[in-house]
């Protein structure tokens, strides 16, 4: 026996050595900037670029914006630092945002606003909006301004009559006191000197109107559907400015169809009708149904082609405030026997059609302008059409556009979650890699939060 061990021991020692060297190594994937130069990356855009989510902008949401994610990946191929217009210490929660406190018995979420560590000054802007504390650092790399549209970015398009710095608190906070009435977004982004940029504007030229149920607000001159003429002039001016007339490399994203957002797809006419017909408090409930006021002022029964906005659940079924109208809000038996849902809570079929047509027109202007300034188009419209049909699967998880459970859209039903922004960033990376022969590594969207459930 001793001999056996004597003979096998050297073998066992050799085996130990072999095991140590057995772990395979996979070559790190090539990370290369290609023909692009990411040393100074600047992001131009609206709320999506700023990192707005769940109805607000905070330091945490900025950190999970797609430009921040892109900058992180760009850093792996020689990108530089990326400065966010963050809120001061003690005011980290910025504008405040919605959080999910739980679910009501009927399955609807209980959304509660975060009210601590906010960044409001206590003053109001001339537009009546609450003012946010000023950002005092150097011009940031993330130039995203929540709420901004193309035609609100260029003051010449409104004859200088509606200075946007006096309307929008998110733009207001980026400007110094003397600039508020004189500096438009076009001028503001003209100060940036990027070596690479992303440009995603135009969403609010249709979205503001859509989320307001197709009702333009009297107090906001930028709340209608933007006309194509002014949009084209503004878009070319903005893109020409940031790209220095097409000499700086970048990527340009277009407008996803807004009607596929959970904001419009979560509350369904059929479900509301069913709950009205099942309401024991209504006489002859089986004959009742949801009635709406259309954009043209007509009162009619809602159909499956009308889209109800997410916030409509807070008014549908509430008691009538009109002493002469006995019906709860939205309930009716005939156009003349109803308390129709106000137009701002519903996109009727005509409004949907107008929005869809306008979105397509603006996207064709975007595509044309991108070509004019030698920029690749990141086709977010096609990406999100696909996602709303099939979801998007990464690493064994299929994320969808369903409200809350889909994990891609935040609690406001319009803006992505961090995970949704990672999907957006991956699409930018795909196009950038393809266009500039770069190999910027992709993100794993599942590493970013969707909607944590209480």
């Amino acid at each position: 026996m001793y001999k056996i061990f004597k003979n096998t021991l050297p073998g066992l020692a050799l085996l130990g050595l072999v095991l140590g060297g057995c772990q395979p190594e996979l070559e790190a994937p090539k990370a290369d900037k290609g023909s692009a130069d990411f040393s100074k990356y600047v992001a131009v855009g609206n709320s999506l670029t700023a990192g707005y989510q769940s109805g607000g902008l905070s330091n945490a949401s900025q950190a999970n914006s797609y430009p921040a994610m892109l900058a992180m990946q760009f850093k792996k191929v020689g990108g530089g630092d990326f400065v966010q217009p963050s809120f001061k210490a003690g005011q980290e929660n910025g504008s405040g945002y919605l959080s999910l406190a739980g679910f009501n018995a009927n399955g609807t979420p209980r959304l509660v606003p975060v009210t601590t560590s906010l960044a409001y000054t206590g003053q109001q802007l001339p537009s009546g909006q609450n003012q946010l504390t000023a950002y005092e650092g150097a011009q940031p790399n993330n130039l995203g301004v929540p709420g901004i549209s193309v035609i609100s970015s260029v003051s010449a398009l409104t004859g200088g009559l509606a200075p946007y710095g006096a309307i929008n608190p998110f733009f207001n906070r980026l400007l110094s006191g003397t600039e508020v009435l004189t500096t438009d977004y076009l001028t503001y982004i003209g100060r940036a000197t990027p070596t690479f940029f992303t440009f995603w504007l135009g969403n609010n030229d249709v979205l503001t109107y859509a989320t307001n149920g197709g009702v333009a607000s009297a107090t906001n001159p930028f709340s209608g559907l933007s006309d194509t003429t002014r949009f084209g002039i503004g878009y070319r001016a903005l893109l020409g400015t940031i790209s220095k007339n097409g000499t700086v490399k970048g990527a340009v994203a277009n407008i996803p169809g807004v009607t596929a957002l959970p904001y419009f797809t979560t509350v369904r006419v059929a479900a509301i009708n069913a709950s009205i017909k099942a309401n024991p408090a209504l006489p002859n409930a089986a004959l009742a149904g949801l009635y709406i006021t259309t954009g043209k002022g007509e009162v009619r029964a809602a159909t499956a082609s009308d889209l109800l906005v997410l916030t409509s659940t807070s008014v549908i079924g509430t008691p009538s405030t009109d002493a002469n109208n006995p019906f709860p809000v939205g309930v009716g038996y005939a156009p003349t026997q109803s308390n129709p849902l106000p137009s701002q809570y519903v996109l009727d079929a005509d409004e949907i059609s107008a929005i869809t047509t306008r979105t397509a027109q603006l996207n064709s202007i975007i595509a044309k302008s991108a070509r004019q300034y030698k920029q690749p188009l990141v086709d977010m419209a096609t990406l999100f059409t696909g996602i709303s049909a099939n979801g998007i699967a990464t690493n064994g998880v299929t994320n969808t556009t369903s409200f809350i459970s889909g994990n891609l859209f935040s609690l406001d039903g319009v803006h992505p979650t961090p995970r949704g922004y990672a999907v957006v960033a991956n699409e930018f990376i795909r196009v950038i890699n393809q266009t500039y022969g770069a190999s910027v590594p992709f993100l794993n969207p599942n590493e970013y939060p969707g909607i944590p459930l209480p």
């Binding site: 690493n395 994990n407 992709f442 969207p445 939060p449 969707g450 909607i451 944590p452 209480p454």
Partner: protein, 421 residues
């Protein structure tokens, strides 16, 4: 009495690993065979013939007991297409184990025996937080077969044999994360744990030795469906809001352990030298999908089942090996195998991160006296680097798994003890 206690020890140690053959097949029965690239169907080497070719058992001269154990060290690297880090396994060692005991008259025409072995198994523990965590975090698949065997020499040159292969013990443990976060940001986790029902199949073979220098064999092991009924489902880290969607407590699943046909040839050019070639054909095409049924919700109201595509293909393994008797006491062995993966491109799953395999083996035996001998073997298995892209997954509708590149190496030292009487 002695046999029984050996079996008990074996039961405590037994487990398999997706180590030495395609899919989750494990061919680590005899330590002598292990040293020769896993050949054996065309040979009548020792009691392990009960596994490789029951027909050859009648031609094995010695009667005796043989126990063998292997230690499987699998080392893997993974890089996700959507993920930056290189991931390695939480390394574990598994120890497939075998026992063969043969009886019969020394000069008689028949032999009988009992074999205990682990033809299928897999154990993998992936890195914490790896990209594929929502497909799999841990798998431990075990099977133990007990096979009473008889073999009869029809003529001096031709023998047949058959064994009743009993799936005596089978266990499956699968764990993965659930893509739903609780308020602390933790992802949910599910563990499926169950025991397989006992099943019976057979293992049969024919062995023909027309001359001193040539032998051939054919063997067939039947398919057995490993069926788990009423296995335990345990969820953890779920938020209160998500709990109603995950109420299952029991699961059913069937995993096919496919039929295997082997043809083997042995050449004995001199008394001291033996060469052998085996070709295995495994009917992996029987594994089409992995379907779980649950007794309540898994992921939403009314969702009580899951199905994941496999569509494995039948696979061949080519094995070549030889042994040379250096002295009366020492015999050395070497061999190699090429093992084609049953898993098609786009269908690679974390539970079987399979690829074509090349292996090289070495072995040595030392005979200490008339009754006792010890065998040592080592196998080095290299799985080809395998990449599947997101578009492969989308094209095949297999987005329930992860896009990326796997590379695995395995080292399997083994030791066996023989006592002949």
């Amino acid at each position: 009495m002695k046999l029984k206690s050996l079996l008990l020890v074996g039961g405590a140690l037994l487990s398999g690993s997706a180590a030495s053959a395609g899919g989750f097949q494990v061919s680590l029965a005899g330590i002598k065979n292990n040293g020769m690239g896993g050949v054996g169907t065309g040979l009548a080497l020792d009691q392990a013939a009960m596994f490789y070719n029951p027909g050859a058992l009648a031609m094995v001269r010695e009667r005796g007991v043989q126990i063998g154990a292997n230690a499987t060290f699998a080392r893997q690297s993974f890089r996700g297409q959507f993920g930056s880090e290189e991931r390695t396994l939480r390394n574990s060692v598994v120890t497939p184990f075998s026992l063969f005991a043969g009886f019969g008259p020394a000069e008689g025409k028949w032999k009988a025996g009992i074999a205990v072995y682990t033809p299928f198994g897999s154990k993998l523990q992936y890195a914490d937080g790896w990209e594929g965590r929502f497909a799999l975090t841990d798998i431990d698949l075990k099977s133990i077969f007990v096979q009473p065997t008889v073999s009869y020499a029809l003529t001096e040159n031709l023998s047949v044999g058959v064994g009743v292969a009993v799936l005596a013990y089978g266990a499956v443990n699968l764990q993965r994360d659930i893509p739903a976060q609780n308020a602390q940001g933790q992802f949910g986790h599910v563990e499926l744990d169950g025991k397989a029902e006992n099943k019976v199949g057979f293992n049969a073979g024919i062995y023909f030795k027309p001359s001193e220098k040539l032998s051939v064999g054919v063997s067939y092991r039947s398919k057995i469906d490993a069926t788990v009924k009423g296995g335990d489902v345990t969820f953890s880290n779920l938020s209160a809001a998500a709990t109603p969607s995950f109420r299952a407590t029991e699961f059913d699943v069937t995993i096919p352990l496919p039929a295997t046909t082997t043809i083997g040839i042995g050449l004995m050019p001199t008394e001291k030298l033996t060469l052998a070639l085996d070709v295995n054909h495994v009917q992996w095409s029987q594994y089409r999908s992995l379907d779980f049924k649950f007794n309540n919700n898994v992921g939403g109201a009314g969702i009580t089942s899951s199905s994941s595509k496999r569509f494995y293909e039948d696979a061949l393994t080519f094995r070549l090996g030889g042994q040379y008797a250096l002295t009366d006491a020492f015999t050395v062995r070497a061999g190699g195998a090429y093992d084609m993966s049953p898993v098609k491109d786009g269908y690679v799953t974390p539970e079987t991160p399979d690829a074509n395999r090349v292996s090289g083996t070495l072995g040595v035996s030392y005979k200490a006296g008339e009754h006792f001998s010890v065998d040592v073997s080592t196998q080095f298995v290299s799985l080809a680097k395998r990449t599947q892209t997101q578009s492969d997954l989308l094209n095949n509708g297999t987005t329930d798994r992860v896009a990326g590149t796997y590379k695995t190496n395995i080292v399997i030292p083994g030791i066996g003890f023989n006592y002949n009487f």
